[in-house]
Amino acid sequence: MTLLSYVIDKKEYYLEIVNVELNGAEILIRFLKDEGVEHVFGYPGGAVLYIYDELFKQEEVKHILVRHEQGATHAADGYARSTGKPGVVLVTSGPGATNAVTGIATAYMDSIPMVIITGQVNTWAIGSDAFQEVDAVGITRPCVKHNFLVKDVKDLAETLKKAFYVATTGRPGPVVVDVPKDVTIATTEYVFPETVEMRSYNPVVKGHPKQIKKAAELLLAAKRPMIYSGGGVILGEGSKELIDFTRALGAPITNTLMGLGAYPATDDQFIGMLGMHGTYEANMAMHECDVLISVGARFDDRVVGKIEQFCPDATIIHIDIDPASISKSVVVDVPIVGDVATVLTDMIALVKEGKSGQDENALKAWWNQITEWRGMNCLNYDRHSALIKPQFAIEKLYEVTHGDAYVASDVGQHQMWAAQFYKFDEPRRWINSGGLGTMGFGLPAAIGVQLAHPDATVACVTGDASIQMCIQELSTALQYNTPVKIISLNNRYMGMVRQWQEFFYESRYSQSYMETIPDFVKLTESYGHVGMRIEKPEDLEGAMKEAFAMKDRLVFMDIITDQTENVYPMIAAGKGHHEMHLSPERELA
């Protein structure tokens, strides 16, 4: 019921409107406003025209028109990763939904909160192979946290509320809401559902006190303790607690690819990323530690390598909000199910309490060992090359941006170099597709990040292959004035594919070389942006400074790099952490 009052000729009139009925499209947009959604990334089409018509009539919810639905999902994803708020996507039925699937799967693998609204054909046409019909709920089922088909407009608001609730709580993830066209025009009363209750969904937050106590005791008694933290710390806003915990314990810490920034990379206790392309010191410390605590990491195969050889001497503690992540691949000794920030808070108190019982000499010896490993200087590369080394380009990027940029990455060698050489000191700065490894992610994700942080410096580290997978979003970037700086390491190869072919397929470079690639400078210019090509190491710093000085322009830096460079260190798939290749000249084990 709504009560309107208005005054005509100094006389006050009341108008009582009972049961204001809104149609589904109005409800959807009203709901997004009430839920606090500011940006929706999307692309219109037949099934969602009523919704787009409602979008047109208001200004609070800003729609970002992408050039391909994949771009919408990655942009919403970048927005979500850099803010912690759910990314919202609106696409049409059929091809709109299928184009979105890659981005949905990308978000799913990295547990990113997103709500994707897909249009659907009329309810009465579902199952008839109607024009632009696909079973969106069926297609997305294996790559969403949950999904819904709304068959009745009366369920729309509540379903949307559930979608946001499920997407953002517990272990986050994408949720699809499939809305048939006739539901968007059917009417009902709208009340914003303030709360939601689902008997079948109750994520655990608080860790079990006994388990936490056991873990703290093990860590304090350890001679060679080690902390291995992942993306869960960022998703769970547990960075501060992780720093306090690590400092209290005095142990070395490594981050996964997804966890970079959760602990400051420039801090002394940080020993680099671990895993397939992790540092020598991080991987050796994993191999040699006697107590390992994993915080919000999921023992991914790129991190673990050979399961039988993973941390062979260690008692393993694992904090995770998702019980199914615990003992999925590596069986752990002390599982703790709970929110990382909450569990760490409990653990910090216990560690501080028992600190005096720690074996200081053992810890000192452990750090001496780590210092020795650090002395291997495993990330060293040829700094006197006449060609631009990709590592050099990332180092320059770090310097020029004072380590203060948001860096969205594509997938491949450049991604690994960015992870190794850009020292992230804060969470939510490193935006990359770690789990699914989606080429084409970088540019649209960077656009999403820039929209969320209009005044921030945003770089997109990419390569000549990845950038071509969502290059159309250059047009979106112009329309919404997102002055992203694209750092494209151009080696004409799919570099990571080439590297594996060199190592494991006797240098048979099957289809990994692109004989034709566009002139990226002209291409960028035709999209209305600034393009630069840099071919000499000595020109790079100046050009980069110039690019970043253009605060309101997107600049595409086409950096011609050494084609033969490989990512080191490297652990071949299925090998142990101690079996690293450091460089062609420095083979180990």
Partner: protein, 164 residues
């Protein structure tokens, strides 16, 4: 080891395919699966028979619990339980001797003949899976025209119950 997992799930379209999809996507075995609404129309009860190592069964129960539509579950194999399966089986029954023999056999197994023609019997039998297997074995040379098995349903013994 063989496990019987009982699941209470939201009686919603798509809930069954989420469970089935989970098993195929993660490569778990399903020996049998039965599902029907309970006395509370908003809930379905599912009985899943699966096989795997302790670690795999642990993953299966965790992954099932993670599905938003799953309200509660119980691994019946962890405690004393009762399992039952129903079978309808149509056999040829020609000649007095053969008809007598089949009738005797189904009596021994405490089953029933539920449909009769000049040349066939349709039999109904309830029990554990292995009892049904044993009956099929015992039919020997009798020609089986059709076998329909319901899949296993299970319930915990004693006062223990799976409910919301």
């Amino acid at each position: 080891m063989r496990h019987i997992i009982s699941v209470l799930l939201e009686n919603e379209s798509g809930a069954l395919s989420r469970v089935a999809g989970l098993f195929s996507a993660r490569g778990y075995n399903i020996e049998s699966l039965t599902v029907a609404p309970t006395e509370d129309g908003s809930l379905s009860r599912m009985t899943l028979v699966t096989e795997g190592s302790e670690q795999i069964i642990e993953q299966i129960t965790k992954q099932l619990n993670k599905l938003v539509d799953v309200v509660k579950l119980l691994d019946l194999t962890e405690g004393a339980h009762i399992e039952r399966e129903m079978m309808l089986i149509k056999v040829t029954a020609e000649g007095v001797d053969a008809r007598e023999e089949i009738k005797r056999l189904i009596d021994i197994f405490r089953g029933r003949i539920i449909d009769v023609t000049d040349v066939t019997y349709t039999l109904e039998l309830t029990g554990t899976g292995s009892k049904l297997d044993a009956f099929i074995e015992a039919l020997g040379n009798t020609t089986i025209l059709e076998t329909v098995r319901s899949g296993v349903s299970g319930i915990a013994r004693g006062a223990k119950s799976l409910h919301v």
